[in-house]
Amino acid sequence: MMDAAELAVRLPASPRLRWRRFVNRAFRVAVFGAVIVVLAPLVAILWTVVSRGAPALDWDFLTSLPKPVGETGGGVGHAILGTLILAFGGLLMAVPLGVPAGVFLASDRMPRLGGAVRMCADVLAGVPSIVVGMFAYTLLVLPFKHFSALAGAFALSVIMLPTIARTTEEVVRLVPSTLTEAALALGAPRWRVMLRVVLPSAGKGVAAGIIAAFSRGAGETAPLMFTAFGSQFLSLSPLQPIAALPLVLFNYAVSPYDDWHAQAWAAALVLAVLVLAGNVVARFAMARRSP
């Protein structure tokens, strides 16, 4: 026997409630759909790069120099080397400035200046890379009337700088203050504490930031277009133009030759592996830090 109270709670949900539950479910579906739509291009792009790039990829491609226009075959060996030289060169200039800057930001010793510097780093990160290229051009190409690997590496270093500085700051901040306090209490001077205690502790994280910056620099095209400029030849000189994978990719892609298009996909595969591998390694190093 059901009494009035039981009957009351047995009534079906009011239309208002049904509508609210429907809206809630529709929202969940829409949000889930958004994620699928967002991830689909990732799958599509990686799939295309692998499926079109792999057939043209062989040892010859990775090691030889390009053939003259019209002839098929050849490779991007010079560009792979060029990218590595440019990216390492960029690191050589960005790390000595970026890591200490990051340490400065994390130390909070001059909070107002630190705030301004932090803002500068963040804004610098947002400067379009082509404008960075123009900056490097006016500084290192225009005066010498010469494209050069040095100018390209400099442009990349400007792009890498904010990443290195901010990652270093984040990681140094995470070093527990108890560690620094204990060292200072033992009478060690600040600089020794920094070099012997804090940096080693933060080391993996700083390395991760550097690797991430390396990957980012290796993938950049625009700033190299009028600094390193590209080249058909193998070059090790910092004062000469030099090839880079992204530049070769771009030039082959917009060319009218099918053979070069195929090589562009292969170059894309190499570049993607280089950049994504760097990303994964950096992420791994970040996660494996001791807290």
Binding site: R20, V23, R28, V31, F32, A34, V35, V37, L39, P41, L42, I45, T48, V49, L97, V99, P100, A101, V103, F104, V117, M119, A121, D122, V123, L124, G126, V127, P128, S129, I130, V131, G133, M134, F135, T138, L139, P162, P189, R190, W191, R192, M194, S215, G219, E220, T221, A222, P246, L249, F250, A253, V254, A264, L271, A272, V275, L276, N279, R283
Partner: protein, 306 residues
Amino acid sequence: MNARPSSSRIDTAFQASLVLAGLGVATVLAGVAWEVLSLSGEALSKGGIGFLTGTTWDPVAEEFGALPALYGTLVTSAVALLIAVPLGIGSAVFLSEMATSRVASVVGVLVDLLAAIPSVIYGLWGLFVLAPLLREHVQPAVQAAFGSLPIFAGPPLGVGYGTAGLLLAIMVIPVITSVSREVLRAVPDTQREAAHALGATPFEVIKGTVFPFARSGLVGAVVLGLGRALGETMAVTMVIGNRYDISASLFAPGYTLAAVIANEFAEAFSPRYLSALAGLAVVLLGTTLILNAGARLLVRRVKGAA
């Protein structure tokens, strides 16, 4: 007699070098702005406001008007945001409010991978996969349905404002998603609990408490995405169609500030030409700087208030 320098002097030198490094970063930023501005000086002072409003780009006759490039930049970015904002914020809601922490970290990594793909690879895919797809299937279908609208006029080429906007959207979504996700996570759980305890559905909790609380931070995320879209060069250059003109149709080819610079800088044959290109860079830099600085302030405000 102690011949070594005292520790405190090394200390001061050490601290000073840190401060110098910090100032170095600021100097680099100032340097970028300064150099680009001075390079553009000639074009801007000669052209004056006409530089911004002119529509011809004739290096031989030395007539430089930035308007079509500016128009292209704005249109492609607007299209990109229209697509990227709902998808990006929706994904952020998924990651922050709905997914379990394991799913969220996997999806988060995948979204970050999207951000790590170099722009030139996006351009390659856009040119050889997306553009043909649009040209052969999507654009004819859209024209069949809405062909009378001026926004969809013109022959289906596959490249143009719409394609560039679409490609930009894919590249901008990770920015919007990751910043929005941080902003949403900064909303205190006590707010959500209060809403749940009043009998709100999960959707109502998000709409009534989380979004209002995070609103300015979400706007900041969108503005950061806009900043990224404005400055994006390679992918856009490869699918914009490279036509220096203004058109109302999304299917028409056009040009953007960054694309013009990328395509022409290495070939610039006169100082005035170079200066004009630098002028485009100034317009680009100015807009991105203001947007970026403003956006970061907004994001910081939400994270500070939480």
